[in-house]
């Protein structure tokens, strides 16, 4: 099984009030996160739980917030009325399992294709975009002052960060240069009120059921910035899973997202600013894919990594369709 099973069984008794654990199994082989599921056993009953842990226990990527902060973000989101899995406990050094936290198991669908196209969620798709807007408005009410260690970035700093990452790949992509020029020429000023943004709010990081959004997952890229960034990212072409005419995650319209956002107390959406962040979204994902070549050549020489690197061209055609149609 794993060297974690013993310490986790011990933790279940000491900190979760259980009699032990069962069904301990790894859910993902993700490069940036380890996700395990197990049952907390108490009086013969089993409660499914999730362990989210830094890979190997302690490796955290440079751009990620860190697991303890992620747990605190999820708790703050719950207080703000955002659907999230409840955090049960944050790992401590004496637990002997590295860094991470334990949260409740939420039943639902996270696979983007099934959310965008599956028959089971056809009903949810009629209101999902609006609901995503409402959820984002609530996320943006979380007080950034509670999270002094989160990165603060202006729009210009964010664009520049990815421009530098693109340049570091040392591989010319004229479409990317065209898009960076477009963004730099239209870069909005820093927002009057920077908000705590999720940073990766998209189809694929949302747990969806027939009743809609059940949980917002993957808070590791949260930062403090222009709230429109979150509204643009979920519209990026990369998250439409083949449904070309539904810009919001392959399931809804931009106007529904914006209406939900404004109705739930979000600031009024400026369509030009939203488009800026949508274009940036495609380019940001493109730069992330382009960086996979370096990972493939150094730390992670497996075929899947190489194939993801070759998905960079998807974002190049997305950008041309946005900018040069």
């Amino acid at each position: 099984m794993s060297e974690l099973a013993g310490p986790l069984d011990d933790l279940a008794r000491r900190r979760l009030g259980g009699d032990g654990i069962s069904g301990f199994a790894r859910l993902t082989a993700g490069a940036t996160q380890e996700i395990w599921r197990f049952n907390l056993v108490k009086d013969g009953a089993e409660t499914p739980l999730i362990l989210r842990r830094a890979p190997g226990g302690d490796r955290v990527s440079e751009s990620a917030t860190g697991l303890e902060t992620e747990a605190a973000l999820i708790e703050a989101a719950a207080e703000a009325g955002v659907p999230v899995p409840p955090v049960r406990c944050v790992l401590r050094p004496e637990d002997g399992m590295g860094r991470g936290f334990i949260m409740g198991f939420v039943e639902g669908e996270t696979l983007g294709g099934r959310i965008a196209r599956g028959e089971a969620l056809a009903g949810a798709r009629t209101f999902l975009a609006r609901q995503c807007g409402e959820v984002l408005a609530r996320i943006h009410t979380i007080d950034p002052a509670k999270f002094p260690n989160l990165k603060r970035v202006t729009p210009l700093e964010f664009v520049t960060l990815y421009l530098d990452a693109y340049r570091a790949t040392e591989w010319p992509r004229p479409v990317f240069d065209l898009a960076f020029r477009w963004l730099l020429d239209r870069c909005p000023p820093p927002p009057e009120t920077p908000r705590l943004v999720h940073g990766d709010f998209r189809n694929g990081n949302l747990m969806i059921g027939p009743d809609g959004v059940r949980a917002v997952l993957d808070w590791e890229l949260a930062h403090v910035a222009d709230p429109m960034e979150d509204l643009g990212w979920i519209c990026a072409s990369s998250w439409r899973f083949g449904v070309a005419d539904k810009p919001v995650g392959g399931f809804g319209e931009r106007e529904e997202l914006w209406a939900g956002y404004e109705a739930a107390g979000g600031v009024k959406v400026d369509p030009d600013r939203a488009l800026f962040w949508e274009v940036f979204g495609s380019l940001r994902w493109g730069v992330m894919c382009a960086g996979m070549t370096q990972s493939f050549r150094t730390t992670d020489p497996n075929v899947e990594r190489a194939v993801i690197a070759r998905r960079t061209s998807e974002t190049e055609i997305d950008l041309l369709r946005l900018l040069a149609a």
Partner: protein, 129 residues
């Protein structure tokens, strides 16, 4: 001249073996990874088939746009520089067509099933690579 079958034919046969036999007769991560490997080989077969002609066309087009000669990496780097500093932009005659042609060819190799590529082909029927 190297002998035949052409590399792209042999690679396609290996991909068929990985998909039809290895992926089908294994399960879990091995089956998944065999499928990923087959997809990667199919991509390389498409590149061997499409890239030589397309890259010759790209080189000519870059030389015409930039007014200089060179190889593909140096000319693409030069195009990148001029787009970044604004010397060239979408109003430059021939630039948009060049970017479309090169990008559509990339997709024809990398991800011909990508919906954005299919949508672009439908929108630009004159530019089938």
């Amino acid at each position: 001249m190297q002998d035949h079958p052409h590399p792209s034919e042999i690679i396609a046969a290996v991909a068929r073996f990985l998909k039809g036999t290895v992926a089908a007769e294994t399960k879990g991560a091995t089956s998944f990874n065999a499928r990923v490997a087959a997809n990667a080989l199919e991509m390389m077969a498409r590149e061997l088939d499409l890239a030589p002609l397309a890259e010759a066309r790209e080189l000519k087009s870059l030389e015409a746009l930039l007014g200089v000669t060179g190889d593909l990496p140096s000319l693409n780097a030069e195009l990148s520089r001029r787009l970044a500093d604004g010397t060239l932009d979408l109003s430059t005659p021939g630039l948009a067509d060049h970017l479309w042609d090169v990008t559509l060819t990339k997709l024809a190799v990398d991800q011909p099933k990508y919906w954005g590529y299919q949508a672009a082909l439908a929108e630009r029927p004159e530019q089938h690579p």
